[in-house]
C-alpha cells in the first residue's frame, strides 16, 4: 500500500538497526522515552525493540490520552450523566471502557444513563442539533492533536447559536508532562522520541527547552516502524556526536512552527487551568485546558454540579508507575491476570495506545521469539 509499504521495508529496518548498533557506545546503557502512546503501540505492534541492541531501552511515556485521565474525572462524567435524565453524554470509544470507582460509562449505560460513543466532537454537536429537547455533553479528552477538533466544534456551536451543547473539558498539554518527567527523580533518560501528531499542531519549537535546559535530544517521529527506527538512529547519532538538539524526522507531516490557525483557534476557545490531576503524575500546574470566558456558556462544569472528588487508583493497579516509565507493563502485579483488555483495572490496559494493552496484544508474543539483533 502506498505511503505504508515503503515505511515498513525490512531491509531498511535491518540497515537502520545496524547503524544504531554501530552508534551505541560499548558498555553504555541508553534509555529513550517515546512520549506518545501512538509510538508505544507502533513499537509493540511492529516489534521495533527487536531491532535494537539490548543496551538501547525504550521507556514508555505518558502520552496516551485515555491513560492519564484520573478516576475522579470518570466519576464526574458518570455523575452528570446519571443525575440528569435529559443529558446525553458523548465521548470517544476508548473512554467508554475506562473504569471509574462506580464502573465505566458502559456500566452507566447498563444502569440507564444515555452515554454515546462518537468519532468526533462534531458528531456530538450533530446529536445536539437532532435532539433540541436534550442537553448534549461532549466528554473531551486528548492532547494537542485532539484539542483543535473540540475548539472548532465550539466555534461552530457558538456561530450557530446552539444552546443545548456543552463540553466537559479534560484536554491536557504535552510540555508540562515532559517537564514533570524530566523533574522526576525516579527516572534517568538520555533522550526523547517526540510525539508526531501533537507536533503537527504545536510544531517543534516548544521542545527546545529540553536540549537547552536539560541537555537531552528530542526527535519528532512518525508512526511507521521505519519512522521510529530512524528517529532512534538520529538520537543515537546526536548522543554519539555529543549534541543535544530538537530534530524533525517526521518533516513530511510536521511543520516546524505547527499549525498557526489551529493554535489561534485553541487560544480563543481555551485557557490554561491552574492545575490538573494526571493519573500517575499527580497534580501538574498549567498542564490542562478549560474553556475560556468567551465560551463559558458551553462549559459543562459551570452548567452542572460536578462532584470533583479525588479518587485513588485501586491498590493493585500500577498504571502510575507504568505511565512514568518506572515499571514495564509486565512488571505490574495484575498485568494479564486480573487486568486484561476485556476486564481492565487500569487505564493503560484500555486504550490501544496504552502501554499495557499494546504489550498485551503484541509484545507478550514477541517476548517468546528469539531476539532479532542485527
Amino acid at each position: 500500500m502506498r505511503f505504508v509499504d515503503e515505511y515498513r521495508d525490512p531491509d531498511l529496518a535491518r540497515a537502520l538497526s545496524a547503524k544504531i548498533s554501530t552508534l551505541a557506545e560499548p558498555g553504555r546503557h541508553y534509555k529513550l522515552m517515546e512520549v506518545c502512546g501512538g509510538h508505544t503501540h507502533a513499537i509493540y505492534r511492529f516489534g521495533v525493540h527487536d531491532f535494537l541492541p539490548e543496551t538501547v531501552e525504550l521507556v514508555h511515556g505518558p502520552g496516551c490520552p485515555v491513560c492519564v485521565i484520573p478516576m475522579g474525572r470518570v466519576d464526574d462524567g458518570m455523575a452528570i450523566a446519571e443525575r440528569n435524565p435529559d443529558v446525553i453524554l458523548t465521548c470517544f470509544g476508548d473512554m467508554m471502557r475506562v473504569p471509574g470507582s462506580n464502573g465505566s460509562f458502559l456500566d452507566g449505560n447498563a444502569r440507564g444513563a444515555d452515554i454515546r460513543m462518537v468519532y468526533s466532537p462534531l458528531d456530538a454537536l450533530r446529536i445536539a442539533r437532532q435532539n433540541p429537547d436534550r442537553q448534549v455533553i461532549f466528554y473531551a479528552i486528548g492532547f494537542e492533536t485532539t484539542a483543535p477538533s473540540t475548539a472548532l466544534t465550539l466555534v461552530r456551536a457558538k456561530r450557530e447559536g446552539i444552546t443545548n451543547f456543552s463540553v466537559f473539558c479534560n484536554h491536557v498539554t504535552i510540555i508540562p508532562a515532559i517537564k514533570a518527567i524530566l523533574d522526576s527523580p525516579d527516572l534517568r533518560l538520555d533522550a526523547f522520541v517526540g510525539p508526531g501528531h501533537v507536533s503537527t499542531v504545536i510544531g517543534c519549537r516548544p521542545y527546545e527547552f529540553i536540549p537547552r535546559d536539560h541537555g537531552k535530544p528530542l526527535v519528532c517521529a512518525g508512526f511507521e516502524p521505519l519512522d521510529v527506527l530512524q528517529a532512534i538512529e538520529m538520537i543515537m547519532r546526536q548522543l554519539a556526536d555529543g549534541r543535544a538538539e530538537v530534530e524533525n524526522q517526521y518533516a513530511r507531516i510536521v511543520p516546524w512552527d505547527g499549525n498557526r490557525q489551529a493554535l489561534a483557534t485553541m487560544a480563543d476557545v481555551f485557557e490554561l487551568r491552574p492545575y490538573f490531576e494526571w493519573r500517575g503524575l499527580g497534580f501538574i500546574s498549567h498542564s490542562a485546558l478549560k474553556l475560556s470566558q468567551r465560551y463559558a456558556d458551553f462549559d459543562t462544569e459551570l452548567r452542572y454540579d460536578v462532584p470533583g472528588v479525588r479518587v485513588a487508583d485501586p491498590k493493585s493497579c500500577q498504571c502510575g508507575e507504568v505511565l512514568k516509565g518506572v515499571l514495564k507493563p509486565w512488571e505490574c502485579k495484575v498485568f494479564g491476570t486480573a487486568c486484561t483488555p476485556e476486564t481492565p483495572i487500569g487505564t493503560c490496559m484500555v486504550s490501544s495506545e496504552g502501554a499495557c494493552a499494546a504489550y498485551y496484544n503484541y509484545g507478550r508474543y514477541a517476548k517468546k521469539r528469539l531476539p532479532l539483533h542485527v
Binding site: 505511503f3 515505511y7 547503524k19 477538533s149 472548532l152 501528531h197 513530511r252
Partner: protein, 70 residues
Amino acid sequence: MAVPLTVVEAGALDARCRDDDGREEVVAVELVGPVGAGDRVLVHAGVALERLTPHVAAGPAPTQSSEAVL
C-alpha cells in the same frame, strides 16, 4: 491517531474525503485553509490538522538509503 485522507469534494468549511481503502467521511477543513479535490489532508477526530503539500503527499521514491526514503 491522525490519518491522511484525500479530498474528493471540497466546500468552504467541510470536505468529503476518502481513505486509501475507499471509505469516505466528511471532514472539517477550516483549520487548514482552502482545499481542493485531490489534496491530501491529515485528519484526526473529523478535523483536518494539516494540508500535505504535493511534495510531502507524494513522498520521495523508495531507495536503499533510509535518509532518502524517510
